[in-house]
């Protein structure tokens, strides 16, 4: 049976843990806000580049760039994005389970699968499973920069051109809201049907607007291109992949922070429950102690009176 002192110590320890989880929740909330800002800031850029590519793709030959060429699929690369740090609930576990399901599904269909990872968790996971990632990036989450997206895109594009694999998909958590994330598997290479892909999430209104704009951009043909249409297009295409990857990185880190927020929220609540439970026990022990002492005293008094009388 725990002594009163042990119980008080325990309450204090729980309170300290609670302070930490509370602080972590606050930090996660601040980080989440930052990432959301960046997502918002990134949108106009992504939109512009997509528009330019959609316009240009009408003006040039289809197979001008190797990443537009669709090869028969033999090997499929999965780029799995997780976080570096834990303490974010089932965030990493979910994405990794989803990813390995994809892997076995693809293998069942007779494809070879190669893997590259972003984040320490994914790397460790696949190493443990004996699937050595083809490439891995660590230390990105928390400070996602466009530069890192560029590095990843460059690596993937180079490997695609070298025919290390014939298709690339990204597996990541898409940020829906604070409480829900969606697991997504999303094809980035090769680029097909640029015109449609350029605005998959376009609302009906935007589509109409775009049609109208197309009327004007008939005269896009009248643009003078420097150095040449092909050169501009070739330089822009990798940009398209970069954008997809950067978006995935941002979505993933937003989801990570959101997941951490709710995990820490729960932890804080659990601490509160624990404190209440332990306090109850402590009170019981204290009262028992008092009762025992009282009984001792009463017993002592009785004994004294007897011996006196």
């Amino acid at each position: 049976m725990a002594t009163l002192r042990d119980l008080r110590k325990r309450i204090k320890a729980i309170r300290n843990t609670q302070k930490i989880t509370k602080a972590m929740k606050m930090v996660a909330a601040a980080k989440l806000r930052k990432v959301q800002d960046r997502m918002l800031n990134f949108r106009p850029y992504a939109k512009r580049v997509k528009e330019i590519i959609a316009d240009l793709s009408m003006a040039v030959e289809r197979d001008i760039h190797p990443i537009l060429v669709v090869r028969p699929r033999k090997t499929i690369e999965l780029l799995v994005i997780t976080s570096d740090k834990g303490l974010c609930g089932a965030f990493n576990a979910n994405i990794l389970r989803f990813a390995s399901k994809q892997v076995s599904e693809l293998k069942r269909q007779g494809f070879e699968v190669s893997i590259s990872t972003v984040g320490k968790k994914a790397f460790d996971y696949f190493m443990r499973r004996g699937l050595k990632p083809r490439a891995s990036w660590i230390g990105l989450s928390g400070k996602v920069s466009y530069e890192s997206a560029k590095d990843i895109a460059k690596d993937l594009i180079d490997a695609y051109i070298n025919e290390s694999f014939d298709e690339v998909r990204i597996v990541f958590n898409e940020f829906k809201s604070l409480i829900s994330q969606r697991l997504v598997c999303f094809k980035v290479l090769p680029l097909e049907s640029l015109e449609e892909e350029a605005c998959p999430e376009a609302t009906e209104r935007e589509v109409i607007q775009r049609e109208e704009e197309k009327g004007i951009s008939q005269f896009a043909g009248a643009f003078i291109y420097e150095p040449s249409v092909e050169a501009v297009f070739e330089r822009l295409l990798p940009r398209y992949v970069e954008i997809q990857i950067f978006r995935a990185l941002l979505e993933s880190s937003a989801s990570e922070e959101a997941a951490r927020m709710s995990a820490m929220e729960n932890a804080t609540k659990n601490c509160e429950d624990l404190v209440q439970r332990v306090t109850l026990i402590a009170n019981k022990v204290r009262q028992e102690g008092i009762t025992k002492e009282l009984m001792d005293i009463v017993g002592g008094v009785e004994a004294l009176r007897k011996s006196a009388g």
Binding site: A46, I52, F219, I224, E226, P227
Partner: protein, 135 residues
């Protein structure tokens, strides 16, 4: 008088959106100037300095390669990154320059093109921040 709308977007947000009188930008095939009523024109940009004139005043913006789309009343710049002269972090640029120079000096299994580009960016930023505009 007619005006041009100058818009600069980067992955980190929209840097600028203003009505201006005149724009000069560092095209990859050479610097070019744009006045209202310019013919439709699309070019890649190299690392350099974009200047624009507004109400008689000349302003400078650092551009880290990208694209420029020019129509008769608009100039849209899509850049990897861009900063107004007054927003440049001089200290950071100087540090970046030192780093790049060091890497170039060592010359061991590094991406020379990348280090050179980093050096160029840093140098350009420093020059702009110190108002020594290369001409």
């Amino acid at each position: 008088m007619e005006k041009l709308r100058l818009v600069i977007v980067t992955p980190y947000g929209q840097v600028l959106s203003e009505e201006v009188d005149e724009v000069t930008a560092p095209g990859s095939e050479g610097e070019f100037g744009v006045l209202p009523g310019h013919m439709p024109f699309f070019t890649t940009l190299k690392i350099g300095i974009l200047t624009y004139k507004k109400e008689g005043q000349i302003n400078y913006v650092f551009i880290n390669s990208g694209y420029a789309e020019v129509t008769h009343d608009k100039v849209i710049i899509t850049a990897d990154s861009a900063e107004r002269a007054e927003d440049i972090d001089l200290e950071r640029a100087i540090k970046a320059k030192e780093r790049a120079e060091e890497r170039l000096k060592k010359m061991e299994e590094i991406d020379v093109a990348r280090a050179t580009a980093a050096l160029e960016r840093a140098t350009m930023r420093i020059q702009l921040a110190q108002k020594r505009i290369p001409r």
